[in-house]
Assembly symmetry: C2
């Protein structure tokens, strides 16, 4: 890890232990991936760093992705671990420009989990799969003793087909690109927090958990060139943009007043001292498109119900160092860094 | 579930809870799948019941499979959760007649897990992947609080390509087929038990955990027709054969003296009152081939190092009811049933 933006964490010691921050989507997790996982697995295409790996099988380019879900609690306003597990994998495939073909479901169940809860979760998975137009084709079930899990964990992997001629990724982000945000941010993280903490009893925020494949299809069919797509999950919009800036060697400049945040998310963040830029979303994405195509792309994205409120929130610039900054409505500019861990563990 | 062979479990009650037996590979797990999972996910091809789902993508038939691994302890004689996770998915793909192309790795880590252990596990994954000639192309890491996991759980999903003209599955099993077993049974389960229990301190059994893709390639290239392949994992050889008998509507007759069991596995089973037929394996499979091709198939299978001791252990017969029986060396015949749960939980 370059350390330019992340405050350069000290190397992981062999005798260290896994910390919650290693799963947070921030620089600690990047470090775990770079120092332990990538050296072991090797990864010629650098695929593991992005949403999906791309596999050339004869003339077909497949996208392949996996995510485990350990969200706590299992049910929350606007979704459950089931809808999250299906939408998350649909979205990872979509962000690589692929349309999803099939999903697998690996369930780890805790002894004592009420079967009603299991039934509700798999029903949510079914509904989410139908909504996204994808099939759950294969599965696996394991049971562990009481106290060795937290109700249930779900892994979904997904296979998709990358559309012909589509080449989407941070490598294509370049100065001059416009940054389009698909909707208001922070709802998923705050909905999870509200489901956990009594202090947010008044909070009516529902998760934004939703499949993004339709919006991406509309965008890719709009005629606009698309350089990069990314959903704003763990670590929130800030961490995702820092990662893209690092990977592309560019500078992303955001306008704070253009970034939509709902009143209830803003109120919860103010109460808790959180920055909405770092709160996870499960149905929001950013698209990087050439400035000339920005209006076409925006118009197209807005026709999808999940991204009706999309906005242009920033531009890509050429500066001496890669990075991200945000300009307030008073004209002040502050730099955005990747968090070391995460504000809210186990939001997905 | 037909109930013919399984003792017809009572229907799952809505107000029931998940039990360890629901993960055991026996009739309780079948029931969970049939009463809760299949109705929700739907499954036109019945794929979820077998090792891999098959997906037709243009002219290519893909195999897609998933498995979560929750083995306790993480390290045992002959392997670890890492080698198990890679070999298990390689084997599931192989059993559908596919050659493995890519594997995903979803890690759920418990806060406090020594990083040394994580490093050892991912190193085992790497070694197993290299041995099987497959790449781990994408991954995901989650961390849960201390006491919400048991060190680590791993999900691997796999994508493979089904060889042209290959059609392998229980639907092709027919009276007259020979049943070939690739080697001695029961080693994986006993190795896990030995790693857990002090009473087996003297036991030197190492797990049979190994990739089966080379053996399958050799078999499929031998010219022998192959009707069905299945690895003998959870629930052991007995449960797998009962499932195949039910799915194919045939009767499988085994000769006990032909089934190899090592002296140390036999001793451990006698001490503990276990039947080796129900002990899990992670590097053993059965092949169903027409009688006329049995010798060709056997000879081919034996050239692979993992199945050098393969034997013909039974035949498929036509009887009034589907089922499995085993004939002792004294000529007595006993029926084999699926267990309700499993003798040893969390062996994979």
């Amino acid at each position: 890890m370059s350390g330019i933006l992340s405050g350069c964490p000290v190397p992981i010691e062999n005798r260290g232990r896994v910390e919650m921050a290693h799963g947070g989507g921030g620089s600690k997790m990047q470090q775990l991936i770079e120092e332990i996982l990538l050296p072991a697995f090797g990864n010629p295409e650098g695929a593991a760093r992005h949403d999906s790996a791309l596999l050339q099988v004869e003339k077909i380019q497949l996208a392949f992705t996996t995510d485990s879900y350990v969200v706590r609690p299992l049910f929350f306003q606007g979704g459950s671990i089931g809808s999250l597990a299906v939408n998350g994998t649909v979205n990872d495939l979509s962000m690589s420009g692929a349309y999803p073909v099939a999903i697998s479901a690996g369930l780890i169940l805790e002894e004592g989990l009420p079967l009603e809860h299991l039934q509700a979760v798999v029903s949510d998975m079914q509904t989410a799969a139908r909504t996204a137009g994808v099939r759950i084709v294969t599965g696996d079930t394991k049971v562990v003793e009481r106290g060795r899990c937290d109700g249930m964990y779900i892994n979904t992997a997904g296979v998709g087909i990358v559309r012909d001629g589509v080449d989407i990724g941070p490598h294509r982000v370049q100065p001059g690109d416009a940054v389009i945000l698909s909707g208001d941010i922070g709802r998923h993280g705050i909905a999870i927090l509200a489901a956990r903490e009594d202090m947010l009893d008044y909070c009516d925020t529902a998760s934004d958990c939703a499949p993004l494949n339709s919006a991406v299809t509309i965008l890719l069919n709009s005629g606009a060139e698309v350089h990069c797509l990314r959903d704003l999950t763990r670590g929130g919009m800030a961490s995702v943009l820092v990662e893209i800036a690092q990977a592309s060697g560019t500078f992303i400049h955001l306008r704070e007043e253009a970034i939509p945040v709902s009143a209830s998310v803003r109120a919860a963040c103010e109460l808790l001292g959180y920055d909405p830029l770092y709160i996870a979303n499960e149905g929001r994405f950013v698209a990087f498109v050439p400035a000339a195509d920005a209006e076409t792309a925006l118009k197209a994205i807005r026709t999808a119900s999940v991204s009706g409120e999309a906005k242009i929130v920033g531009t890509v610039q050429k500066r001496e160092t890669a990075g991200v900054s945000i300009c307030s409505k008073y004209g002040t500019e502050r730099h955005i860094y990747m968090l070391s861990g995460e504000q809210l563990p186990r939001i997905c």
